[in-house]
């Protein structure tokens, strides 16, 4: 087995390194990149035998069982810890679901050009581990025209230019199933569906058994096999407890429709970055929302619909 294979999850190592190269160009000043690297290495030091820092953290209750006061204490502790670790003012929110909102996603397969900007915008927004292993919530599958057989798809396409002639692209992420198999699987209720339909994980409650990953038909979940590598200068300080706050190794994480944004009326990062407007997001319960319009006027479908997990993620041809 080659060494590369172990450093990669669902990401092609070539794409990963190319992205770094592009980043370097964007940053222009080589000095800045070097400084960044130094910080990154200081930051990604191993956490050692325990990822916990206090007894308080160890005995922390499941998020859903905490009182308001307990939540406030936990959030304050985390803000302090993260701020120290990343050298910036980190905010950890616990914004609650907005009453009556049911978040839904729609993706226009006619528009998607397979540029993977959503993949990397997601990584930047959600503080995923940047390397060893790289964690991606979105996988963009490339299909030959005329087939939708997943086994024939290619997620490691790497041409000079996208889109390629005769091919189409299907980005897949957590489908936020209404009847989520992962939620059923979890032996300790460390993952659940919030009232606004977002499937979340309490990273401090997860024991890392990975049964949810076995149960998920969409590869919507990732595991932190080692200590996540999140360079301080790339760390997004606007975080949510159930969303993009920094994770520790040994826990499962996933797309949360950018809970830290969506609950404040903003679009998820993937929607915002999409250069062709293929990604639509909104409240299905709102009759005037774009997703509702799509649902009512377009021919929509859900992948693996036969499993009856009722995803809140629709695909359509606009």
């Amino acid at each position: 087995m080659s060494k590369d294979k172990k450093t990669v999850t669902t990401v092609n190592p070539r794409t990963a390194s190319r992205r770094k190269f592009m980043k370097g160009l964007a940053g222009t000043a080589i000095g800045a990149t070097l400084a960044g690297k130094a910080m990154a290495s200081a930051n990604s030091k191993k956490s050692g035998f325990l990822t916990i820092h206090s007894l308080e953290e160890y005995l922390q209750k499941n998020y859903r069982e905490m009182t308001k006061e307990e939540k406030a204490q936990v959030l304050a502790r985390m803000e302090k810890e993260y701020s120290e670790r990343y050298g910036k003012d980190v905010k950890v929110k616990d914004t609650e679901p907005i009453d009556g909102v049911k978040f839904t996603y729609a993706l226009d397969l006619n528009r998607c050009i397979g540029c993977r900007r959503c993949v990397y915008a997601c990584v930047d927004e959600n503080n995923q581990s940047r390397e060893n292993p790289q964690v991606h919530y979105i996988k963009v599958l490339q299909f030959e025209n005329g087939t939708m057989d997943f086994e024939e798809s290619n997620r490691y396409y790497d041409p000079e230019m996208v889109p390629e002639e005769g091919k189409y692209y299907m980005p897949v992420q957590c489908q936020h199933c209404e009847k989520a198999p992962c939620v059923k699987a979890c032996p300790i209720k460390a993952t659940w569906t919030e009232d606004d339909g977002i499937v979340v994980v309490d990273y401090n409650w997860c024991i890392g058994c990975r049964y949810c990953m076995a149960a998920c038909p969409y590869e919507g979940r990732s595991f932190n096999w080692g200590d996540p590598h999140l360079p301080a200068e790339e760390m997004n300080p606007n975080t949510h407890y159930l969303g993009n706050r920094p994770r520790m190794r040994g826990v499962v994480e996933k797309c949360t429709f950018c809970i830290q944004r969506s609950r404040e009326g903003r679009y998820p990062a993937c929607v915002e970055v999409c250069p062709v407007g293929a990604r639509k997001f909104g409240d299905m319960n709102d009759p005037t929302s774009e997703v509702r319009y799509i649902f009512e006027h377009k021919r929509v479908f859900r992948i693996k619909e036969d499993l009856l997990t009722e995803p809140k993620f629709f695909y359509f041809f606009g």
């Binding site: 997943f150 086994e151 032996p187 409650w205 049964y211 990953m213 076995a214 190794r249």
Partner: protein
């Protein structure tokens, strides 16, 4: 209390005093366990990144070994049914040994799942009352319940019988009976629930088969007794306990039928998938033929099939089965064959290809292999020590001072 101290001192003496072969065996196991635990410290400090598992194949040989050993543990029931319920003589005195094997196997199971966790230190999240237990929704929570129940049951029954024997008393069967009867469905339940754990989710077509639970039970009836047959021969040659050939051959016969059923169920599965030829065939193709140039499991699974079929032929022919050379050969073959089938042969194709069609090949790392070997060694240490105390009580050599048999 004084009584218990006496017993404790007696067991310590038994455990530390033995033949040269005993010391060599224990030293060997302790060495393996030490190597395994050293490798585990590396996993504890770096995380599961030291294993070969990654997102596409998120369970590996830890869970494979776990599944196999649940089967070995369940096989203790095989001894319980004829021994207690049908009062079939030759097996009765050795049923205890089977139950102690079940205890050791469950200990190994619990170690394998614990070592597979990303956060073993958070185990209290699972403890009812302290944490949150997603029972009865999560099949994993069922598994936690039945495994612990089975462990407790298989500890209580032998400990009670041995404690009584230590005092030269007969056990009170009025108390014992309900436990013995209950241990039969309990043994079936641990393996059924473990099978349901896999067959529960349509995301993994390879596991999502109703045939999985019966196949698990059938193959458990091969692997567990195979181990017991060999262990019994070692025990009777090294201790004073008497185990009749008749009992061993009876086990061989049961294994033969079980393997027959196991092979039949395998054929049923292979036929259904290959003939209907749907997308569900892919994992089986990966296992038996290789998929898109990835064929890591192919030599393994064909080895397993060859071993199982050969062992089946030996076991089904009474003349061969009653020849210890053939019998032992068949037992070793079957043990390895079933381990491949239910370990890597079950877990890895469940993940390959992934639900979105990626074929990523898993192979365990050195650390993972050493840790697994270490857990096996600890399990065998537990089994050896349990036997070291239980056998002298059974034979009457170890008694409360003053009650010794001549």
């Amino acid at each position: 209390m004084a009584n218990f101290m006496e017993f404790f001192v007696g067991t310590v003496k038994l455990v530390f005093v033995g033949s040269k072969r005993y010391y060599a065996w224990m030293a060997f196991l302790i060495l393996l366990a030490a190597i395994g635990l050293t490798a585990w410290t590396q996993q504890l400090s770096d995380g599961l990144i030291v294993t070969g598992m990654r997102d596409p194949v998120s369970w590996g040989i830890y869970i494979g070994n776990f599944t196999f050993l649940v089967g070995v543990a369940a096989a203790a029931v095989l001894l319980v049914i004829p021994a207690y319920i049908y009062k079939w003589g030759p097996i009765k005195e050795i049923v205890l040994l089977g139950e102690l094997l079940a205890v050791s196997a469950i200990c190994m199971c619990l170690m394998f799942v614990t070592f597979d966790l990303g956060h073993p230190e958070r185990f209290w999240h699972l403890v009812p009352g302290l944490g949150i237990f997603n029972f009865p929704v999560s099949m994993l929570s069922w598994d936690v319940v039945v495994l612990n129940m089975y462990l407790a049951l298989n500890l209580c029954v032998p400990v009670y019988i041995l404690w009584k024997a230590y005092h030269n008393e007969h056990p009170n069967y009025k108390i014992l009976w309900p436990f013995i009867i209950f241990s039969v469905p309990a043994a079936v339940s641990i393996h059924t629930v473990t099978a349901f754990l896999y067959s529960a989710f349509p995301a993994r077509a390879f596991w999502n088969a109703s045939i999985l639970a019966p196949r698990f039970i059938a193959s458990a009836f091969c692997s567990g007794p195979s181990f017991i047959i060999i262990a019994f021969q070692i025990i009777r040659s090294t201790t004073k306990i008497k185990i009749k050939d008749e009992a061993i051959f009876k086990l061989g016969e049961i294994i033969a039928y079980a393997m027959g059923i196991n092979l039949f169920l395998l054929i049923s599965e292979v036929f259904k998938e290959y003939y209907s030829h749907t997308v569900h065939l892919a994992p089986m193709e990966y296992l038996f033929q290789g998929l898109h140039g990835h064929d890591g499991l192919v030599p393994l699974i064909w080895t397993a099939i060859a071993l199982n079929v050969t062992a089946f032929i030996i076991m089904i022919v009474p003349k061969l089965r009653k020849n210890f050379k053939f019998l032992n050969l068949a037992c070793v073959m079957m043990f390895i064959g079933v381990w491949i089938e239910k370990g890597p042969g079950l877990i890895i194709p469940g993940f390959t290809p992934t639900p979105l069609g990626e074929v990523w090949e898993y192979a365990p790392t050195t650390a993972e292999v050493l840790i697994s070997m270490g857990i096996w060694a600890i399990g065998l240490i537990i089994f050896t020590l349990l036997l070291k105390v239980a056998i002298p009580i059974e034979t009457g050599e170890f008694r409360k001072p003053g009650l010794e048999k001549k």
